[in-house]
């Protein structure tokens, strides 16, 4: 039988099956659980590697299962899906290691890792979806899988945060559903085709199409945290640090941004969207979110909240790149998907380290942390500078391409937005660094745990270092063939702009 047809499904199974098995494990079976987790992550990595090699040699991977009349569940591998899925897989592996260390001696680990694996399955499904209905399916599955992770701790606060999270995401999902049904009834197709499938529609349908676009973007914008749909994100910080890291770097937020990319490029087609006039409002909204998120971040004292608002701001770079509508801006937006993931996950890992090792949750408690946990703060520094856009870390590259794309399309106002954003980022990250490195140590830490001679456990220390190194490499080694930038260039040419 043709294996190529089943590999996408296998990729999904490689995290679904271990997840379901982990649910059945007792709390004490640490070894088995760790083995299952790592086995799943490595198996997925191997399969993704196989797909990378295959796509490079021109193979085609697609799974089709009938779902509805005339609509199939499609899992298709293309350069954009590969980008997202590689990012997800690598970061899942890293986060699994981190989570194993973070949750040691925590209750309900089987449940946690089971839902964790489901979450990754849903993300991979989102990446591989080949039409809007499959995307919708996995998008909603993502909501369902992440909710138990948010309320994992079981406190009243967690329950409330979960409630608000659901309010936003279920409503967003409902809007997405209406948009999808409307589109389907209008055009009879939902397949993701390069350059969209709407250019043949008659002009009388244009108002309907604008309505559909608005519905789809709103539904996706909830997860992508566009203002004013971002309210759930800071509250979701109640979840354990591995969850925040995964949610904000890989799964939920990126799924929303990824969806926006798909809708604009593969459903509407970017030239068609520009013609419809829907990209300008999207650009303004994205720009507003960028500035608003950074402004709110300035006033947060809780570290994870500040990082949450920073995420709100940074993910809109992707939307901005999409809305500027040019090949170079596309490169900037798509590559920021990867770069922001790497940098943000580093920051969240470090925040989790501080909380776990020293009981630090607020920035005002961070005086002198650089001396107690130098490697963690070094990773944090790299992540922070990347966010500010200091070369040669990855964030610099994305800002470069976004700015260049704006210049290419005569949208010079974007340069000001980017400059303002850099300024604001510096304003809220540099004080943290200053406190950590240059302020005197306090008398004692809020809740210190000792790990022998090292600053913290290996499982907690290695992941941020690895991701920080990757962020640095993504910036330093941009011209190498497998760097995210080269990949984004390939995507921009192959999927979006090639005639």
């Amino acid at each position: 039988m043709n294996w190529n047809d089943w590999i996408p499904l296998l990729v999904l199974m490689s995290s679904l099956l271990p997840g379901l098995l982990i649910f059945s494990l007792a709390e004490e079976n640490v070894q088995t659980r760790v083995m299952l987790n790592l086995f799943g992550a490595l198996a997925k990595l191997a399969l993704v590697g196989l797909m990378l090699w295959g796509v490079y040699h021109g193979h085609h991977y697609e799974t089709r299962l009938p779902l509805l009349p005339n609509l199939d569940l499609v899992l298709r591998v293309g350069p954009l899906s590969l980008l997202f899925i590689t990012l997800s897989t690598i970061l899942w592996l890293v986060t699994t290691v981190y989570a194993i260390g973070y949750l040691e001696d925590s209750p309900h680990r089987s449940r946690f890792f089971g839902f964790f694996s489901l979450c990754v399955t849903a993300t991979v499904g989102v990446a591989l979806a080949g039409n809007l209905i499959s995307f919708l399916l996995f998008y909603e599955l993502l909501t369902l899988a992440t909710y138990p992770l948010i309320i994992h701790r079981g406190t009243e606060e967690a329950r409330q945060a979960g409630k608000i999270y659901l309010r936003y995401t279920i409503s967003g999902g409902a809007l997405l559903l209406i948009g999808t049904v409307w589109l389907y009834s209008l055009t009879g197709s939902l397949e993701f085709t390069p350059k969209g499938f709407l250019f043949n529609i008659g002009e009388q349908h244009y108002p309907a199409l604008i309505g559909i676009f608005a519905l789809l973007i709103t539904g996706l914008g909830v997860k992508a945290a566009l203002v004013p749909l971002h309210g759930w994100l800071p509250l979701a910080m109640i979840a354990p640090a591995p969850v925040s890291a995964l949610l904000h770097a890989v799964a939920v937020v990126k799924a929303g941004a990824f969806g926006i990319i798909r809708v604009v490029y593969d459903v509407f087609g970017v030239e068609f969207s520009a013609g419809l006039g829907v990209l300008k409002p999207l650009a303004w909204l994205a720009a507003f979110t960028i500035i608003y998120g950074s402004l709110r971040a300035l006033f947060q004292n809780d570290l994870k909240r500040r990082l949450a608002y920073s995420t709100i701001s940074q993910v809109s770079y992707i939307a901005l790149g999409v809305a500027i509508a040019g090949p170079i801006a596309t490169i900037g937006g798509v590559v920021h998907l990867v770069h922001q993931g790497l940098m943000k996950i580093t920051l969240f890992f470090c925040a989790g380290n501080l909380a776990e090792t020293l009981g630090i949750h607020k920035i005002s408690e961070m005086n002198g942390v650089g001396r107690r946990m130098p490697w963690t703060m070094a990773a944090f520094t790299i992540g922070a500078f990347g966010m500010i856009g200091a070369p040669p870390i990855a964030g610099f590259i994305s800002k470069w391409y976004l700015g260049l794309g704006a210049l290419n399309n005569d949208q010079n106002w974007v340069i000001f937005v980017l400059a303002g954003s850099s300024l604001l980022n510096a304003a809220y990250f540099l004080p943290i660094l200053h406190r950590a490195w240059f302020m005197p140590l306090p008398e004692s830490w809020p809740d210190e745990h000792h790990f022998g001679n090292k600053e913290t456990a290996w499982a907690l220390l290695l992941p941020p270092l690895v991701t920080a190194a990757m962020a640095l490499a993504a910036g330093l080694l941009v011209t190498l063939p497998f760097s995210p930038l080269e990949w984004a260039k390939l995507i921009s040419v192959r999927e979006f702009y090639q005639p």
Partner: protein, 436 residues
Amino acid sequence: MSSAMNIEFYTMTLWIAVIWPLVLSIPSLHSRLPWPRHLALLPAAVLTVIPIDVSIEIPWLLYGTGFAIDGNIRWILGAVVVIWFAAATISLPAKEKASSNYSTTFYLLSLAGSLGVLLTTELVAFFSFSTLMGYSFYALLIQNGNSARQRAGRLYLYVLIVADIALFEALLLVAFTTEHFQYEMVRQTMADISSSSVYFYMVLIGFFLKAAIWPFYFWLTAAFKSGSRTIALLLIAGPVTMSLLGLLRWLPVRDDIYRLGLIMQLLGAAAILHSALKIFTSGIFKQGLTRFNTTWLIVAFTGLLSFALGTTMQNPTLSQHYSYIVYPTISAFSLSLSLLILTTVKIHSEPESVENRPVLIINTFHKLKKWLHSTQQLASGLKLKTLALWDKSGSFVIKQYQHICSEQKIKFFVTDWKTNITLFLILGLAITWLAI
């Protein structure tokens, strides 16, 4: 054949010079080595001393970059090496505990940044290294911080961030226009396009801020006043010199932008006038040179440079004739100013009286003697007779010098501003004549 191999080894020194301080900056490494701050300068010193021009391409780094050294750069490299060496000597002792506040780490990171800025061949790497140097320097500025230093550090940081944003925009404009980032190509290309004035202004703002050229000198005065002697030295060798270099390399070359050249000339002239005013009204005749006045010297010099650059922009033929002067001049200026600071200038913030300064110098002599002694022991251990002679002659010379620098004489020396200015001018002239 062997010379080719030598050249190859020598070429490696180019990038080793930059990587070596970076590697050394890891705390667990440099806390195990003696004299890390001096050690870090070794490859750079090699580069200065051996007068071969080499270059190396590194296409896989950033957007494709490279390192190179030629005669011009060597002038500045020499000054940089000497000044950093001096700074290292008068700063902390040889070994440092790991639990300190990472001053050596930031010191070495700044050094790496400076060397990188100096040796790269294109704009993007220049910007990257300059960012590294800039932020590490902030850490140095606020070492052992009292509130004055904190304030100076904050000012510096604000300036740095705004300047970096301006330079980033300038880079974007370059990327928008061309694919290549090498200095000469950029200068030519950016001069030809119609939007070159935006580029010019961005570069102007960025580097004027970073080099504390008039009217953006305020952060430099604050840093000088509140910082230690080491900081003063490093300010010259670090941000000021490197940013002047940046100005030289990034400014577009054009025949007919009369207006833009005029702006630079005006700014330069204003700088010179203002600083002259300040120097002569600040009581230099009564108190001798102070930190404050030294800052104005810097402002004057940078203003002079700005004026000169403005003139060349209006009259490009001039630049061809006199461009080779610029590098040695900058180098000479830095060196002489450092010497001034090291030996003679009164420092406001240190609770140091005139009496202590000779002690400083005498301490240095003591250290020198000890070093000579230990070398002699080593030599006798290795049974090298010539070195034994060295010790004797060395100690003789030192004794003589000590006699000269007795209390009274030193007092006279360091407080007589006339003597100092004369010495300074003589030194400057000597180096300039050498260059030409």
